[in-house]
Symmetry: C2
Subunit: 324 residues, 2 copies
């Protein structure tokens, strides 16, 4: 029997694109995979890794005849990519993406979508701090959420078809309003990353001797911030440029709260500090109750146990930790 999709066109072949290529093939979700990227070295790397069936530096070539097109380039490049491929998008094609922001994606893509093409932006909540075609692996989406943000008038059949594609790669699929997605991700992902980049930047400015010891004792918590702060700079630049309102609103709340904590520290208000440090435990409990806790903090990364086991298997908790 034939696969759900005849031809998948991946525009951009970094960590997410290469992982989709490997997962879609492993699970028989597509008959053929066409890969397009701007840099010839990247294309050669993808070819050497045997990620697809056809390779091209011209996105239109990859898109021609494809019934599923997924943009896997930084959000900032969507406009120029869409200008290129719009003319060859055929009716019946599903156009999606993997960008970390969604309202901006609708705003930039929707006006350019040809009649008969279903625009269904998506965001797989998965990744590692590694970049490039060689960073991908087929298990990346295992037990990870993939959020789809179709418009109200999008074909339900197409939404279901794309949902089945992501479920086929091991994801749990959720549909959501684009603006709501951006607001939720601003606090679950964008602010945590901004804070991580910030604290690592603060250390980068410390005098050399202190900095070397900070690095030496980084396991006390700092190390885990350096990991998220090693993520792709261009991707994150675009996230903050294109989700500005939601990020600034959440950052405003964060900064106000931090000022309150700072005042409590300065004034030695132990009662306020203890109260603050206690109320956060309820949120922690909710995370565990929601089944969102796993064996170790992973900033969204699948654990070896996830990779070794089926999506419905239980993840054992080895216990968590922090240093003082």
């Amino acid at each position: 029997m034939s696969a759900p999709f005849k031809k998948l066109a991946l525009i951009g072949i970094g960590l997410i694109g290469s992982s989709i290529a490997l997962a879609a093939r492993r699970h028989g979700l597509v008959d053929a995979i066409a890969i397009a990227t701007r840099k010839s070295e990247t294309l050669d790397e993808a070819r050497a890794l045997n990620l697809g069936d056809v390779y091209s530096l011209d996105a239109t070539e990859a898109v021609r005849g494809a019934d599923l097109v997924i943009l896997c380039v930084p959000v900032g490049a969507y406009g120029s990519v869409m200008e290129t491929i719009a003319p060859v998008l055929e009716p019946g094609t599903i156009l999606s993406d993997v960008g970390s922001v969604k309202a901006f994606v609708h705003k930039i893509l929707a006006p350019m979508v040809p009649k008969g093409v279903s625009l269904i932006p998506g965001h797989p909540l998965a990744g590692t701090e590694h970049s490039g075609p060689a960073a991908g692996f087929a298990e990346l989406f295992m037990r990870r959420w993939c959020v789809l943000t179709p418009d109200a008038d999008t074909s339900q059949a197409d939404v279901e078809k794309l949902s089945a594609f992501w479920r086929g790669m091991g994801s749990q699929v959720e549909t959501m309003d684009p603006a709501h997605h951006d607001r939720v991700l601003a606090i679950t992902s964008h602010i945590p990353h901004l804070v991580a980049y910030n604290i690592v930047g603060t250390v980068a400015d410390l005098e050399a001797d202190t900095q070397s010891e900070v690095i030496k004792f980084s396991a006390s918590g700092f190390r885990d911030f350096t990991r998220i702060a090693a993520s792709d700079p261009v991707m994150w630049r675009d996230v903050f440029l294109t989700n500005r309102e939601a990020v600034l609103e959440m950052l405003g709340r964060f900064s106000e709260d931090l000022s309150v904590l700072q005042r409590a520290v300065r004034s030695g208000d132990g009662a306020a500090l203890e109260a603050m440090f206690t109320r956060t435990r309820a949120i922690r409990r909710s995370v565990i109750d929601a089944g969102q806790e796993t064996a170790a903090p992973d900033f969204g990364r699948p654990h070896q146990s996830d990779i070794d086991t089926a999506p419905d298997s239980v993840v054992r908790d080895h216990g968590g930790g922090d240093d003082a």
Copy 2:
């Protein structure tokens, strides 16, 4: 042959105290372990777990005849504990602790130390977010740093004896000036924890519907902040009350840097954001070069691999990750 120490007195038997009891016994570092704690339920729990040889609600009983006394109570309780035990501390005894701040510990303990007793404050950079006698495990200190902050006039023989004790439990030992320790830990541990408590607190204030989705999609990074923000509130209250100057100085730098990032987001300065997100990679490389990276972000927690293997074994890297 007899163990390096005849009698170890543990004042306080939470996560760290119980882990010391289990590790010291497993590695034959002490002949006997005396455990003292204020709450009778906690003492009963420690007895049921067979953590020691003698148990008492009276710290003086535990300390009498001990050649190694380690305070494992929140730093805020040191004063009253020391008033109680000082009269029974015998010459030749080593008095240490496991508090997360060190300058304050010297200030509060030093004046009360009897002649002939060696005060050698310590800080094992290890822990989990779990509390209580049942949370301890013998492998907690494996390959973790333990920082000792002796005074210049402290007996070198005693410093070496206590260092050997920690190395015997699997730790790497470093001696450091107390004020310098507090400054380094402020940025490696205290600020990361403050920031984690803060961001979880921000979420605690969000409207219910957004909050439930934040929890649902918490694997995108937020979840790992909830883990550190679940740490013992009283211990952390005392950390911020007793390391105020260093925390406020580092927090000031952090806030200034955050304002710069915030302005770059508000003004859409992509070049500044990309530059900021790129320079942090050098720090990340230093952390890896320093051999401080492990299989997964763990906020100081030992991984299963650490627990299964010897201190000098190699930790495999399963690759890191972050979500957008």
